[in-house]
């Protein structure tokens, strides 16, 4: 974290996207923030594997087809998720280039909070921008969103967009 002449200056802004969490508003905000603060923009894209695993497990447990078609199906889903990730990153990169913002991209898969914190620590992020899915009051009452967990655990400020 850089501090010059008593004024806080950002070093790195992190934009966290994932398979089910993307938002044009969040992208615009993160690019704008990085430009305003003359910070580097790091984009983390997390490929969510829970759903793919769930589909594969379902086929293994109750499905009527064997390992080969189940694995091919899981691969097809993962390939699609990766492709979407590259497309999203491409969009952010174009916006960053248009605004003359220094840009870095990380693609990973696994646990949302764990991976986000890993990148926050590695890049010494000052502000992270995350997207939270709108959830029903019932779900909010009974379970915590992973983005809420990230806000609690992250060693930096996390700005949340709810979409």
């Amino acid at each position: 974290m850089l501090v010059s002449k008593g004024i806080f200056q950002m070093n790195c802004v992190l934009l966290i996207l994932s398979t089910s969490r993307t938002s044009q508003n969040a992208i615009e905000y993160a690019v704008g923030l990085a430009k305003k603060e003359k910070a580097k923009l790091v984009v983390l894209y997390i490929i969510e594997t829970e759903l793919t695993n769930e589909v594969f497990d379902k086929f293994t447990d109750i499905g009527f087809i064997g390992d080969k078609p189940s694995s091919e199906l899981a691969e097809a889903i993962m390939k699609e998720y990766r492709q979407r990730g590259y497309e999203e990153m491409g969009k952010v990169q174009i916006r960053a280039m248009e605004e003359n913002v220094d840009f870095d991209a990380v693609t990973t898969q696994g646990d949302f909070v764990e991976k986000a914190i890993e990148v926050i620590e590695r890049y010494k992020i000052d502000t992270a921008v995350a997207i939270k899915r709108k959830r029903s009051a019932f779900l909010k009452y009974f379970s915590k969103s992973v983005v809420d967990e990230l806000v609690e655990q992250a060693p930096c400020k996390v700005e949340v967009f709810e979409e």
Binding site: L51, F64, I65, G66, A76
Partner: protein
């Protein structure tokens, strides 16, 4: 070494680590408690033990704490250990005709998938009818349904998914946002679900139910008879489903030339039909013909296994290919379910439950059909449809005995709704696939699926009331 730190609050960690042992300890204690209760009047000691085992298996199937197949294996070994049936009889039940029919049908479906015939048929039909947005939607929906008449709905969903995904991408539909994208994937899922109940081949649940019925009562339902009884329900549901999908998710696109280009490219890629595809198709067609018209005489399992031998004689598949295309574990599930169902029936447990626990609310045969079909359609949304049959059918057959209803009727009332899971990704793999595309959200599926589930239940009961008597099923 990479050390993973569990960052969750300590109380969550303690609960999550301790929950599983506590669950099994509790289940064991419950089993001991049930088995040591004084035997109620009218129930034999074997019946009491069968009910105790049934409760444990039911909890395991509902919670999914063990794989379904392992719960079934547990049931198979526990039945003779508790003296409910003798060992010879118990293990003989695993060699039930239904289990071998399921085995044969899975192998034939595996051969069809392996040959590429099913993908070719799918592409050819989409290429022919997919030039307009309604044509494409209808062709995906009807393809999923009609292919599920002949092979397992799960195999159909897995086979069609990559094609539908490419179409959605080719049309630049936005995941989670595009209404047409939602319609495409919901059509795929619902087509498979509705088509899957039309014959014995759409899912193994129907042969399972028929096998349980035969073991318990000696009554059989043959391939053709089942189709005649169930087909009107399927046709009406297909119509309602299509109208529902187009109503819930109207198309926002006009230009379909990108999809047409995709089909042209795909058709060129797969080239001309090969000898293997022809031959597998002919074997499949002959097998279905025999199942339909000679099934009762020759036995559906015999026909299935002879066809499998034929595939190998003609060198159309190798064992290695078949091994990869069949889920062998699930066959254990079916064997175990038949064993447990028979144990419930032969020990008198099913009849005792029907007489003492649930007979009060049953005012008429139609009320019984309505309640069992409702219970089934609700349960199947949250658990494996085969497990629903394994749980409800023994009790249902017991009820049929008490009210002098043909046990076939109860079998239909459970076997058919057990396949109609529309609401959640966890209900059936076809739904899970649709949601995994990212185009349909769980919320979309739950909203539209709840309406569809209710309509399916109403249609099933109306067909039972007005159509079944016309084909000789007297309620």
């Amino acid at each position: 070494m990479n050390v993973e730190i569990d960052r969750r609050p300590i109380w969550i960690i303690v609960i999550s680590k301790g929950l599983r042992p506590l669950f099994f300890l509790g289940l064991g204690l419950l089993f001991l408690y049930l088995i040591n209760l004084p035997t109620p009047e009218g129930l034999t000691i074997q019946g009491q033990r069968a009910i105790s085992l049934f409760v444990v298996c039911m909890i395991l199937w509902v919670t999914g704490m063990l794989p379904l197949a392992i719960t079934s294996l547990f049931a198979i070994v526990t039945v003779p250990l508790l003296g409910i049936l003798d060992r010879k009889e118990t293990y003989a039940l695993f060699g039930n005709e239904a289990v071998f029919f399921i085995l044969g049908a899975f192998i034939i479906a595996g051969a069809v998938m392996h040959s590429g015939l099913s993908s070719r048929i799918a592409l050819a039909i989409m290429n022919r009818f997919g030039s307009t947005q309604t044509g494409l939607l209808a062709s995906i929906y009807l393809l999923a349904a009609s292919l599920s008449f002949f092979m397992s709905e799960h195999a159909v969903a897995a086979m069609l998914f990559p094609i539908v995904l490419e179409i959605a991408k080719g049309l630049n539909l936005r995941p989670g946002k595009s209404s047409y994208g939602k319609a495409l994937f919901l059509s795929l899922a619902w087509g498979c679900v509705i088509g899957g109940v039309a014959t014995f081949l759409g899912g193994a649940r129907v042969p399972l139910a028929v096998g349980m019925l035969k073991e318990a009562t000696g009554v059989n339902i043959d391939f053709f008879e089942y189709m005649v009884v169930v087909f009107p329900t399927v046709l009406i549901l297909l119509l309602i489903g299509y109208l529902g999908v187009t109503k819930f998710f109207p198309s926002e696109i006009e230009d379909m030339h990108l999809a047409k280009m995709l089909f042209d490219r795909k058709m060129k890629e797969i080239g001309k039909i090969a000898y293997m595809e022809y031959s597998v198709g002919i074997v499949m067609a002959i097998t279905i013909f025999f199942w339909m018209f000679f099934g009762a005489w020759l036995g559906i399992a015999n026909i299935a296994i002879v066809s499998v031998v034929g595939l190998f004689v003609l060198k159309l598949v190798r064992w290695k290919d078949i091994e990869e295309y069949v889920n062998w574990g699930i066959i254990l599930m079916y064997g175990g379910a038949i064993t447990l169902g028979t144990a419930m029936e032969r020990s008198g447990a099913a009849a005792w439950i029907a007489n003492t626990v649930i007979s009060d609310w049953a005012s008429s045969p139609y009320a019984i059909i309505a309640v069992f079909s409702l219970l089934t359609i609700l349960l199947t949304e949250g658990m494996s449809n085969a497990a629903v049959i394994a749980i409800l059918l023994p009790v249902g057959i017991g009820m049929a005995g008490k009210f002098n209803i043909e046990p076939k009727i109860i079998t239909y009332a459970i076997a058919v709704p057990a396949g109609l899971a529309f609401c959640f990704p966890m209900s059936t793999p076809a739904n899970a696939i649709a949601v995994s595309s990212g185009y349909v959200t769980t919320r979309d599926m739950a909203k539209a699926g709840a309406v569809m589930m209710l309509l399916a239940w109403i249609v099933f009961n109306l067909v039972a009331r007005f159509y079944w008597p016309m084909v000789g099923i007297k309620v």
